[in-house]
Symmetry: C2
Subunit: 274 residues, 2 copies
């Protein structure tokens, strides 16, 4: 794929980031490794920001494995069923868009990289997002097409890196930080997820994934630790039921930790020179 001089618009990623009309701050949530709670942080950060009175959008950039619809209580493929084109739908006070709104349950998206890039580009630039204080982009695992395209297309104000405290998650998180540096996107900090588990039977804490790794990583990389979110026994169940924890149980330890993350992110944004 070579750039085509004289054909602007054919290779929009070569034009550099383009603003999204009406959107003031774009934030990317990344981890490189999957399954560490990236989408959980994205959903709850978006809702926590909306709870402060901001207008917030959430873009699911995971084309081959979009989980945002289930976590927000949308049925897979509901827009296609209703013969609707893809658009952002409101729930829990935020606007959400995902390719999962068009795909019936179980439909695989077996696309090579250029198609993935085109998919995320359309979610960003072809949907009428309207007036937003924040657009949260939930990036898929890996540092390949979806992430590269988003970083090159969107004027991302800052990236938030999610990791569990495990070595294998941390080593992937460092690579995510490296990717954002390569692509000139500021990293706002690290969220350590699944820091510890509190047994609902005896109340004892077990650091299943070896707590403290997130703090050490933040230290090593010289970026802030934005928060430590416990693995709350009922959180996966609530997520499966489409009930994000900051909306369903705002007083729970996990929700409180996520609200702290939201505050630290707005603080980081306020400190960015304009």
């Amino acid at each position: 794929m070579m750039a085509q001089p004289g054909h602007p618009g054919h290779q929009p990623r070569d034009d550099g980031p383009k603003t999204v009309p009406g959107v003031r701050n774009i934030l990317a949530i990344a981890s490189n490794k999957g399954g560490v709670g990236k989408s959980t942080v994205a959903v709850n950060l978006a809702i926590a920001l909306a709870q402060t009175g901001a207008s917030v959008g959430l873009l699911d950039a995971d084309i081959t494995g979009p989980n945002i619809p289930t976590m927000m209580g949308f049925e897979a493929g509901f827009m296609a069923k209703q013969n609707q084109g893809l658009h952002a739908e409101s729930r829990y006070g935020i606007k959400v868009a995902s390719l999962g709104f068009l795909l019936p349950r179980g439909t695989p998206v077996v696309w090579r990289g250029p198609m993935i890039g085109s998919g995320v580009r359309q979610l960003l630039h072809d949907l009428p997002w309207g007036d937003l204080d924040y657009l949260i982009i939930d990036l898929p695992p890996g540092t390949s097409d979806a992430s590269m395209t988003m970083c090159q297309e969107a004027p991302i104000a800052g990236a938030i890196i999610v990791s569990t405290p495990q070595a294998v998650a941390l080593e992937d998180a460092i690579k995510a930080v490296g990717m954002f540096e390569k692509l000139n996107v500021p990293v706002f900090g690290i969220v350590e997820n699944m820091s510890y588990f509190v047994c609902p039977h005896c109340g004892e804490r077990t650091e299943i994934f070896l707590a403290g790794g997130g703090a050490r990583l933040a230290d090593e990389l010289g970026v802030p630790l934005l928060g430590q979110v416990p693995l709350q026994a009922n959180l996966p169940g609530l997520a499966d039921a489409g009930q994000p924890i900051v909306a369903a149980e705002p007083q729970s330890p996990a929700a409180q930790a996520l609200a702290v993350v939201a505050r630290r992110v707005t603080d980081a944004l306020a400190a960015v020179p304009r």
Copy 2:
């Protein structure tokens, strides 16, 4: 990227699967979703098969987030440090190859799809794997380039799908099954990982990720449930220390469950018509 007629070898993926000389059975481990324990299952399945006397290789096809080196106790980038070219290294009785053997800790691989495809192709066809009863391929999350290239390049005997019991993991696992069907690769079954957690303080079981989802999924898709592996409190720590559970604690519940998976996989292979 268009196919180049008259340039055979330039687009080897168009030639269909090519046998890997000396390798009798290729197995793919996939999940679509990351962080569900795909690499854990791949590593431990490989070692469990080797413990039965078989010769086994393990190919880490996760180019942007290779975790196999850490899980097997290899230092990131050790081959590059020793000025060695990439080759398979033996440990715990199996031969292992990963791009992580060449990459210093934290080095991001910011490659678009065609480069990813080329990377996995080289791991498969350009390394001298030697005589192997089984070559286990650990696929990255997603159903894009790495997975597509492997399915098109390698004569995969069967795929093993790993999922946690959570809805979001299951919905991604169904897509992995769909991808293999599209690409004409038989699916041997589902491994449910992190089925339940046993509190090391009180011994009580908590189904953090909602047990039973793997069984329901296997039932829905008409494929076998190959096993249910508990989230053992010390498993992440052992993995971080490069000590796979079937080698370090063969009598533990997680190791026993993984050994059952290995037996069921060999049974499934034995039933494939040749």
